[in-house]
Every structure is written in structure tokens, then in C-alpha cells.
């Protein structure tokens, strides 16, 4: 039995605009996705902002009811057996909010230990263990308002583990962290599967998914566009090349013309210091540098380079399709 199973999972939202003449609009956040996570696996749901990652996780942790399809966690239906699912899962979300700022780290954990029914005589030992695990030992009596983002994030992780859940859902746990803080959180996540936990991680960092996950599903616009081990995904886009052109003020029309060129796989604009960099992925054995430059009339062009594709390019290619 899979630890997590999603079958044709779908979620639409209805929003309204206007005050007097209200108009309803339906948004499809998740469009019938299916995947399975085996026990003890660290599965990554990778996608850009707004791809449907958080909506998917909210359905799996019982906070949202799907509008179509079904999902089971440890064989339990997330809609009809919500309370049983909640007892067995932990949920960690990213960002520095979501903790009680004026309570100490210890009291934050103690409160949730009560909510998860951790027996009083075990609470102290359990909290001590988790403080050790997430590296907050010695700072637990300080109010959470004085914690750095990374410390708050690690407090989230400890909270999600209080009741020793079999399955853990981590929603962008390193978002907004500095490199050191993010590395510490990633080290904590890596230790979870060593302890036998099943983990579903959402992130929009390709390198993070690559470093941590056994398998990855890339989600874009509510649909899964690729699934496999990190190696599988790299193989899929290892061919071809990337042309990078430093430009200053590129027009949208020029960008569209480059995108329409034959042999172009994906086009992205990256901001690097003062300049924009046009990143064009091309098919193998196609030389497009001159063709690209011919469409950049009117823009100041700087350095031009050609290189092999990286994982980041693979990800951009997948979510740009």
C-alpha cells in the first residue's frame, strides 16, 4: 500500500469580482493529478509559484476537499476519514509566520503536543529530542519573536514531528531562508527519511529537489508535466544547448519572436544585477545565436555565451511547455 495516493485529484476555486454586479469566475488550481508515494520515500512536488503545489498539499492534509478525484494517506480517505488522517500526519509550512511569537519555542511545541495528545509524561522528553534534532537546543526558552527565519522554520519542523507521524508534508520549508538557514533545514529534512518517515516536499528550487528527493513530480499550471527520479528528469533534457544573451531593455514583441524561432525549446528572462539575461534553450545541433540576435534590434546587447543545459534549464523547459 502506498503511503500517499492521489488519483485524478482536482480542485477548482470560485472567485467573485465587482461589488454590485458580481461576476463569478472559476479557477482550476489542480487539474486531475495522479501520483503515489511509497512508504519511506521522499517525494518532491516541484513547480513554480501558483502551479498548484500548496493546493495539492492542502487536499492531502484534509484542509481542503477536492472537487474531483480522490486521495488517500496510509489507506485513509482524506475527505471521509479526516480525523484519522490528521492523527498520522505532520504538516510543516514555509515562511516565518505561523508560530506564536510571544510564546517561547518550548511553549509553542508544548501547546501543539497537547493538541496532538502527546501524553504529559512524554512531552518533555519528546520536545527535548526534537529541539536537539532541529538544532534549537539552548534557545527553547526564548520567545519565538526573537528567532531568525531559519530558527522559526526549524521550529515548524519540530512541531510537525511532535506526535511522531508516519507521513510528513513539507510545504516550501526553505522559502525565504538565507543559504545557511536553508542548508540547516535541508539537513533536518534529509534526516527524516533516515528515521523511516515518508515525506512529501513541495519546493520551487530544482537543486533542493535534486539533493533531497528520491522521486520528483514537476507540476505546472495544475498538471503534472514530468515524473521520475532526479536522474530521469536530467536525462530528458540533457541534450541541446543554451544561449545566454545579456540585454538591456528587451521588448515583449522581441521575446515572442525569439520564442517562435524553429529549434527553440524554452525562453526565459533572468535578472542579474543591472542587466537582464535572455536564456534560450535550443534543440541539439541547432545554431540559433545569429537568429536570436537579429530579433533583438533596438535593445542594447552585452555579453553572449553558449553552454550545456543545467538542471535549472531542465526545470524551466518543463514548466514552460
Amino acid at each position: 500500500m502506498a503511503a500517499i495516493e492521489a488519483a485524478e485529484l482536482r480542485r477548482t476555486y470560485k472567485t467573485h469580482t465587482g461589488t454590485f454586479r458580481r461576476r463569478a469566475k472559476e479557477i482550476e488550481a489542480v487539474r486531475g493529478i495522479s501520483f503515489a508515494v511509497e512508504p519511506g520515500e521522499l517525494f518532491g512536488l516541484l513547480g513554480p509559484n501558483g502551479a498548484g503545489k500548496t493546493t495539492t498539499i492542502k487536499m492531502l492534509i484534509t484542509l481542503l476537499i477536492p472537487t474531483g478525484g480522490s486521495a488517500r494517506v496510509l489507506g485513509l480517505d482524506v475527505v471521509h476519514q479526516a480525523r484519522e488522517v490528521r492523527k498520522r500526519i505532520g504538516y510543516v509550512f514555509g515562511g516565518e509566520r505561523g508560530v506564536y511569537e510571544r510564546l517561547s519555542g518550548y511553549d509553542n511545541l508544548r501547546y501543539f503536543a497537547e493538541l496532538y495528545g502527546v501524553p504529559a509524561r512524554e512531552q518533555k522528553r519528546r520536545i527535548e529530542e526534537l529541539l536537539e534534532l532541529v538544532g534549537l537546543k539552548g534557545r527553547e526558552q526564548e520567545r519565538a519573536e526573537g528567532y531568525s527565519r531559519g530558527m522559526k522554520q526549524r521550529l515548524h519542523v519540530a512541531r510537525g514531528l511532535l506526535h511522531d507521524p508516519e507521513v510528513l508534508f513539507l510545504d516550501e520549508p526553505t522559502i525565504g531562508l538565507d543559504p545557511v538557514g536553508a542548508r540547516e533545514v535541508r539537513a533536518t529534512i534529509a534526516s527524516l527519511t533516515e528515521a523511516g518517515k515518508t515525506v512529501l516536499l513541495t519546493t520551487h528550487y530544482m537543486f533542493e529537489a535534486d539533493a533531497l528527493c528520491d522521486r520528483i513530480a514537476v507540476i505546472s499550471k495544475g498538471s503534472i508535466v514530468a515524473e521520475g527520479t532526479p536522474l530521469d528528469l536530467k536525462r530528458g533534457v540533457a541534450q541541446g544547448s543554451v544561449v545566454e544573451v545579456e540585454v538591456f531593455g528587451i521588448a515583449d514583441e522581441a521575446l515572442e519572436r525569439v520564442r517562435a524561432l524553429g529549434g527553440v525549446v524554452a525562453v526565459a528572462i533572468e535578472e542579474r544585477e543591472q542587466a537582464q539575461v535572455l536564456v534560450v534553450q535550443t534543440e541539439p545541433d541547432v545554431e540559433l545565436t545569429q537568429a536570436i540576435l537579429s530579433h533583438l534590434n533596438g535593445s542594447d546587447v552585452g555579453r553572449i555565451s553558449r553552454r550545456e543545459p543545467t538542471l535549472e534549464d531542465a526545470y524551466v523547459a518543463l514548466v514552460s511547455e
Binding site: L64, Y91, R97, D107, Y111, F112, L115, Y116
Partner: protein, 262 residues
């Protein structure tokens, strides 16, 4: 059972500490201890100048009614504050039984409301020279506690609405105004239009204020048993309605993602 009791008592107290961190002495003393005295003095002096009722009438009415400030606002904050701090989803995704979870949050609110009323009653009486018989202290304390319980029941409905609306403080102010006029705190029920005095029978404080006035005039607890029971019943009905409303909003939030909206 032990888990539920711990969520009720320990969880309730911890969440109160977590959500009312801003309630420093600099805010608490002027809002909870000085403002009710102003209210008592205002109505007592209006009563004196217009030759209406005794000081005792206004001290008791306003001291009890003022606990609506902590009971309505704090109860709404105890749920709405979770939404503001982004801790609500962490609470709702926990398997904690909802009865101790939500009612546990009301216990510190009831105790604080009773403390505010008792303080206002004691200080208001001292300032205006109102004599309360010593034999009435214990039964008055009980009635003050029941009045705070009753209003906290109404506060639970207010708390449930905070899951759907952001402007909950506005609603709390409107309810405070209703209670000031309708419950007989400053105008005897007999002098109100009949529809208002009828509506008052279903509001917190109406029966508690009547009971407290009788106790201050020498009646025993047994003499006001009916009024105390009615006040308890009103509070219990509001409390149950508030809880059911909370559960309903929680359920529809799963369907409509309404907790994410402003």
C-alpha cells in the same frame, strides 16, 4: 478524557497567553479597570441629576454589563487572532477534539470578564458610597461569574463570525451598544418599549443584573434561583450555537477555501 481535559485547561490557558500578548498593563488597566469606572460614574451622575435611580442601580448594571468588553472582544480574538497570525491552519489540521479546543479558549475569557466586573463593582461602590451587605458578597461573585459566562457564550458566536469577516471589532462594538441599552443596565426593563424588554429576555446580563440588584437589597441566593438559572440557560444556548457555528464554518472552509480569504 485526560487528553480532552488537558486541551481544555492547559491548551486554553496557553492559547490565551499566545494570543493576548499585546495586553500589557498599559493597555489592560485603562481599558479593563478604568474605563468601566468612567461608565459607572457617567450613568450614576446622569441618574442623580435627573432624579432617576439610585447609585446602586447604576453601579450594579454597568459593572456587570462592562464585562461584555473582555468577553466579546477577547472571545473573537481567541479565534480570529489565529487567522491573523497564520496559525489557524496548524490548529485545524490537528486531530484535537473541537469541544475542548474551542471551549477551553473561553475559560480564561470568562474568568477575566468576571474579574473586570468584580473590580468595577467594588471600586464603583467605594467611589459612590454604595453599601453592599457583606452577606451578598459570595452570591454576587457567583452572579458576576455567571454573567461573564453568559456573555462569553455570545462571544463564541462572535468568534465563529471572525472566521468569515475581518471587521469583527466593529461587530463587537455594535453588540456592546445593544447590551448597554437592552439589558436593563441603565434603563429599567419596564420603562423600555415592550419589544425591547421582550428581546432583553434572550440577552446576556438581563437576568444577572436583576438577580444582582435583588442580592444587594438583601435577598438570598435561593430567592434569585430562577433568574440565575435563566442567565445560565441563555449563556449555554449562545455557547452551543457558537460552537455549532464554528464547526459549520470549519466544514465549509474545507469546501470553499474560505479561511484563505480576506
Amino acid at each position: 478524557m485526560i487528553v480532552a481535559a488537558r486541551i481544555f485547561f492547559v491548551g486554553g490557558l496557553t492559547s490565551f497567553r499566545a494570543l493576548f500578548y499585546w495586553l500589557t498593563p498599559w493597555i489592560y488597566i485603562p481599558t479593563m479597570l478604568i474605563a468601566p469606572i468612567f461608565q459607572i460614574l457617567l450613568f450614576a451622575y446622569i441618574g442623580r441629576s435627573a432624579h432617576l435611580r439610585s447609585d446602586e442601580f447604576y453601579v450594579i448594571g454597568n459593572a456587570l454589563q462592562y464585562s461584555s468588553i473582555p468577553c466579546l472582544f477577547a472571545m473573537a480574538q481567541s479565534i480570529g487572532g489565529e487567522r491573523f497570525q497564520d496559525t489557524l491552519s496548524a490548529i485545524l489540521v490537528s486531530p484535537a477534539a473541537r469541544i475542548p479546543l474551542f471551549f477551553g479558549r473561553s475559560l480564561p475569557v470568562v474568568l477575566n470578564g468576571a474579574l473586570v466586573s468584580a473590580f468595577s463593582l467594588a471600586v464603583g461602590s467605594l467611589i459612590l458610597g454604595v453599601h453592599l451587605p457583606a452577606s451578598s458578597f459570595a452570591p454576587l461573585a457567583l452572579v458576576v461569574l455567571i454573567a461573564a459566562f453568559s456573555c462569553t457564550g455570545l462571544g463564541l458566536i462572535n468568534a465563529a463570525l471572525s472566521l468569515r469577516i475581518r471587521e469583527n471589532a466593529v461587530l463587537s462594538n455594535v453588540i456592546f451598544g445593544f447590551l448597554l441599552i437592552f439589558t436593563g443596565a441603565n434603563v429599567p426593563l419596564d420603562d423600555l418599549p415592550s419589544w425591547m424588554s421582550t428581546a432583553a429576555q434572550g440577552l446576556p446580563f438581563t437576568h444577572a443584573i436583576a438577580a444582582a440588584r435583588k442580592l444587594a437589597n438583601g435577598a438570598g441566593l435561593g430567592d434569585v434561583g430562577g433568574l440565575v438559572g435563566a442567565e445560565l440557560l441563555v449563556g449555554a444556548i449562545y455557547g452551543v450555537a457558537g460552537f455549532l457555528l464554528l464547526r459549520w464554518f470549519e466544514t465549509i472552509s474545507r469546501r470553499h477555501a474560505s479561511l484563505e480569504r480576506s
